[in-house]
Structures are given as structure tokens and as C-alpha cells.
Amino acid sequence: MKAFASAALALLLAGLAAVLAWTVTRPVTPGRDVPALIAGALDVSGVSHPVTAVLLNFRGYDTLLELVVLLIALAGVRCLAPLPPPRGSAPVGGVLRELASLLLPVLVLVAVYLLWAGATRPGGAFQGGALLAAAGILALLAGRDRFLWRLEHRLWPLACLGVAVFLAVAAGTLAAGGVLLGLPSAHAGTLILVIEGFALLSIAVTLVALFLGTGELEDRDP
């Protein structure tokens, strides 16, 4: 009976795969030429990389709500009761500690570079934020808990900063031009950089906090 059920399931899923494959390989009726529209409006977007222009200008609403999703996930994690602290955690080795102190400045520098590069080439707040979060997690694993303990005390202000700045810009554009997130082309580049800078910080802090989860920090600094 069980073999029959799994065979039936496999057959059904193979059928689903076939239908999906047929669907995605069908020719698409040409609609509006979106790449050309984006390329045409790139001059007024404030950045020269089309993906960044879409993320922060043309579809800025998506990115704003994406930051809100991160915040909601963080709120969900912080709502959980804290786990009991792990027993018998090994002391941090000297190699890891030295490696972390070598790598941390480089990681922070590359994260900021990625943010800056996002205007003209692949990069941006999310890539930089992921890298900065990796730096934070490395610091956590290398036992630099005191820094992260301080961070945890300012967790919510730091995590909300990105959304707050984004909302402030949205409110400003609504008041000035009447269009929500319709960035004026003269200042679009600066505004995008400001939004991305604060978003980078908030994304990194949120990702580190999500990695930390509900576990409470132990002070392992010597």
C-alpha cells in the first residue's frame, strides 16, 4: 500500500513537472519591452546599474516592504522564549581569534565597497549587508561577545533604522512631489546612497540577530 502511494505520488509529481516544463518553454507573447523602458529611464534614476535602479527607485516599494519582512522575522524570533544556554561550550581558539581580527576589517571594507559599487555595477545594500552580517557572525564565533552584547542592547533602534530612513524619504518625496518614493532625479543618487547605507546597517544587524536567535549571549571575552 505504501509502495503504491509513493509510486502514485511520484507519477503525479512527474506529471506536474511535465506541465510546468511545458508552461515555461512556451513562447511569451511580447508585451511592453521592460528592459528597454528601464534602460530609457536609467538617466533619471540616479544610478547607472539597472538592477539597483529597479530595486531602489522604480520598485522602491518592494525593497521597503522587504526590509519590513526582515523586521517581522526578527520580531518573530525575538518573541520566542530564550533557549537554555548550551552546556560546555569550548573556549575560542587563538587561531580563530587572530584570523577574525585580520578578516574583520577587510570584511567591513568590502561590505562598504559593495554598497558604493552598487550604483554602477553589481552590488548594493543587500550584498553588502550580507557580508557585514558575515563579519558580525565571525566576530560572534571568535568570542567577541562584548561587542555583540553592546549591539544587542541597541538591537531594535539599529534594526529599525533602515525602514525608518526609507519611510522618511518616502514621506519627503510624497510631501515634495506628490508621488510616494518618486525620487527627484537631481537628488536620486544621493537619496539612494543614504537609503542603502542605513539599509546596509539594518540588514546586517538583523541577520546577525536572526543567527543569534533566542540564545542568550555568554560573556566569553578573556
Partner: protein
């Protein structure tokens, strides 16, 4: 079949593999991984199915990846809470808890 269409078809196969694991697997961690595979397959179809160099699906996929990471982190934290036995869940020293 062009290379791009092949990737889109592979994405469909990956979606069904992930769905199979979601239905069959009993362990919640496997189910979470299955949902992640399904999400990644959707990203693959989105990017492979778009016109070459179209920035709009790329931007959507970046957004989707971040949302997937956030959802996975929430799911893993919930799993950790589930994995801790209830007996070990009592607050040790009268502080905290309800």
C-alpha cells in the same frame, strides 16, 4: 532547446523534487530544506525564463532571496525551540518565563 530554456525546465524539475521531499519527509528540518529548494527553483525559473539582461527579474529574485533567508531563519529558530525537550525548558532561577 536553448540553454536558458533548459535552466527553466531544470527549475521545474527542482520544484517537483522539493515538493516531493516536502510531502514525504517527516522531519521538520527536511521540510524546511524542501521549501528552500522549492523557493530556489522558482528563482531559477524567474531568471532563466526572462529575456537576457532583463534587470527586473534579477531585482525580484534578490528581494526573494532576502525574504527566503528571513523566513528560513525564523523557521530554524522555531525548530530549535521544538527540539529542546520540555523538561529542560523550565527557567533555572525563578527569573523570566511565565
Amino acid at each position: 532547446m536553448t540553454g536558458q530554456a533548459l535552466y527553466a525546465v531544470l527549475g521545474c524539475g527542482l520544484f517537483c523534487l522539493g515538493f516531493h521531499a516536502l510531502v514525504v519527509a517527516a522531519h521538520p528540518l527536511r521540510r524546511l530544506l524542501a521549501v528552500n529548494v522549492m523557493g530556489s527553483s522558482v528563482f531559477l525559473v524567474l531568471v532563466a525564463g526572462a529575456a537576457p539582461g532583463d534587470p527586473l527579474p534579477q531585482a525580484l529574485v534578490i528581494t526573494g532571496i532576502v525574504v527566503a533567508v528571513a523566513a528560513t531563519a525564523l523557521g530554524l529558530n522555531l525548530l530549535l525551540r521544538l527540539a529542546v525537550p520540555a523538561a529542560a525548558d523550565e527557567p533555572a532561577d525563578g527569573e523570566g518565563g511565565s
